[in-house]
Amino acid sequence: MKITILEQNGNSLRFVLSGVSAPFANAIRRIIMAEVPTMAIDDVMMFENTSAMFDEMITHRLGLVPLTTDLDTYLLPEECDCESEFGCNNCRVSFTLDVKAEAELKMVYSGDLIPENADVSPAVKKIPIVRLANNQRLKLEAYARLGKGLEHAKWQPVSASTYKFMPIVEIDTKKCDGCGDCVKYCPKNVFSIEKLKPVVQNEINCTLCMECIRHCPIEPSPIKISHDKKTFIFYIESTGSMPASKLVKEAVKILERKTQSVIEQYKKVK
């Protein structure tokens, strides 16, 4: 098993995972989406809302705001000892929001949510919540807790968690007539012309669409498209809660925990 990082920009990560089976890669992909815990607002105490949007709509929007998450400091409510409905300091973070529009229109942004603890704050400050007109006011207290994407989509830490097989593109130049159609019709610029014959310049971008073979005038085509069944190119894009590399590490820990519990159960039954 081997991991090679292709690119890492801010919240997105593209890497190659080789030497694993498809179910394993899929398990990692699914756990990143649905089982890595993230912070999101779950309860709101509305003190004053004279805006044009009703209470439930505003709280729904607040719930969807991505918050920076620190998994080491906070616990999932199921695991916390307090067992209280509203949580304690170990499993809950509070925010306040108090915005009033004076003479002109004012937009309430996610950045207006003031956290009690700066470690857990909105990942993006310019998400518009609601627009206030003259003399309208929004005053509330919001409580965030850890949760998983399984329970509600607001706890999904990624906006993209996908993989594809590593493509294998080969051209038998002896059989090729050099018409150049494959270069013209490839949507991902996998081919280019060198010395009147097509060459593979960008194999990793191939999406296995087979347009090159479809347009090739020779049958059977000298182009051979296949994929490596044990190598996967992952693309993970975090919403800002945690860096994408941390998400992958947490997903692996969760997968390990799950397999351990299955092994333990098996030993008991055996």
Partner: protein, 58 residues
């Protein structure tokens, strides 16, 4: 002779659209028709009660 009866107030308030004065539910119950006791306008708006509302962000 005896002390005046104290009726419990409901605390529900309305606001007249034109003169913007606050009117309680008891003041409106005085006359059979609903109208603002100050300016006589017949359209009133209910003022949101000062209760903290707990909502789930789901």
């Amino acid at each position: 002779m005896g002390t005046a009866e104290e009726k419990p107030t409901t605390g529900i308030e309305y606001e007249c659209i034109s003169c913007k004065e606050k009117v309680t539910a008891e003041q409106l119950a005085i006359t059979p028709e609903i109208k603002c006791p100050i300016c006589g306008y017949r359209v009133l708006k209910k003022v949101r009660p000062q209760i903290v509302k707990h909502i789930k962000s789901r």
